[in-house]
Amino acid sequence: MDSNLASYILQYAGYLLEGGLVCYLAGSSQWKRHRATAFYVSCLLVAELSRVYALQKFGLRSAQYLSVYWTTDFLLVISLFILVCLFFRRACLHEEKMWRFVRLLLVFVGVLVVGISGLTFSHNYSHLFLRFVTEFNQNLYFTCLVLNTLLYLLLQQIESTDEQLGLLVCGVGIQFAGPAATLALLHLTDHEHFAQSLGPSFIRLCTVVMLLVWAYAITRIKEKAIQVSRSKNPILAEVTAD
């Protein structure tokens, strides 16, 4: 199959899934519980529709499309970071002490990424916004991949029984890791034809897989009260209460 055709099919499948997921969450009573997911999917949908609109109106090589593309990319990466933060919050729902530490860590990581990306200001004065955004997006994207892996390890550590969250995190992991590997391959092969033709399709495929995994997690996994296997009341307190 022509790689462009595959890419278009995956692109439209992605729009349908995003729209379907947003409608499902809006129509069901799960909006509040899945606000992080709904927020990110809505951002994804709005960003992609804006890009399509700009592409149709101004054309691929126009400055307007370029600015719409990079601005939406910037907002999407920030929404990804917020999504990971909200997943951390959900994981630490019954672990207030841990959440205080995690919150500090997330703020520190966010500031660090802005700081490192800000270094571009020091040695380049042309196309400042574009250079900063490109650098910032790359850094924050890879940071989110690492944070998501840490979140997965945290879920294992606290033996969380929130199966839905586990699957949501795995979906995000696929969405992060696939494109990161593809972009690194593109960079290493110096944008060789085969990598360049397969890259966009694979990135879209990862988005579709993430949306499918999320749809499965939200619709099929029965909602359980989030329990953490650790006892909430320490044994000592129970003994002394008697």
Binding site: F142, L145, T149, Y152, E163, G166, L167, C170, G171, G173, I174, F176, A177, G178, A180, A181, L183, A184, L185, H187, L188, C206, V209, L212, V213, A215, Y216, R220
Partner: protein, 158 residues
């Protein structure tokens, strides 16, 4: 260059890791009862005995026979998934993902065989996918009433 290579290696490893974890999480789904046994008996599937022999004795059977057994069971079950008591006559998304996972594990079995490392682990993963498929088929067949026919009778008449 080195950073890009590191990112590529790390991201690829993480991609396969998340893919595997996602599939295993889907496979952990609890069914209200074990439907797979009746499906295996009705269709003369061999994966339950293969799994049992591996868990009890830890010794796999002849490799070429093992591959054939797994492949035949896989073909039979994917056919049933698509056609037995399935109104849409197509796989669901998670089934497609698990089919992909099965093929990947099948490839990994061949590689493990060559390297002589962790062969039994791959076989157990393959049988767990087959068990899941059999459970799904059993649950679907069980949900549909066919007069006085049992799930096994229905499948024998298919």
């Amino acid at each position: 260059m080195i950073v890009a290579a590191l990112v590529l290696i790390l991201s690829t490893a993480l991609f396969f890791f998340y893919f595997q974890v996602t599939c295993q999480k889907i496979l952990r789904r609890q069914f209200d009862r074990e439907y797979f046994q009746s499906i295996a008996i009705a269709n003369r599937l061999e994966f339950p005995s293969l799994r049992k022999s591996l868990e009890e004795f830890g010794t796999p059977v002849d490799y070429s026979r093992l591959r054939m057994m797994l492949k035949c069971d896989f073909l039979a079950l994917t056919y049933l998934l698509k056609n037995a008591a399935n109104v849409n006559q197509r796989y669901s998304h998670e089934e497609r993902l698990l089919i992909l996972y099965f093929r990947w594990q099948f490839l990994s079995l061949a590689v493990r065989r060559l390297l002589r490392a962790g062969e039994n682990k791959a076989i157990l993963k393959l049988t767990s996918v087959l068990q899941y498929f059999a459970n799904v088929v059993g649950q679907r067949v069980n949900a549909v009433k066919f007069g006085n026919l049992t799930a096994a009778d229905y499948l024998l008449n298919l």
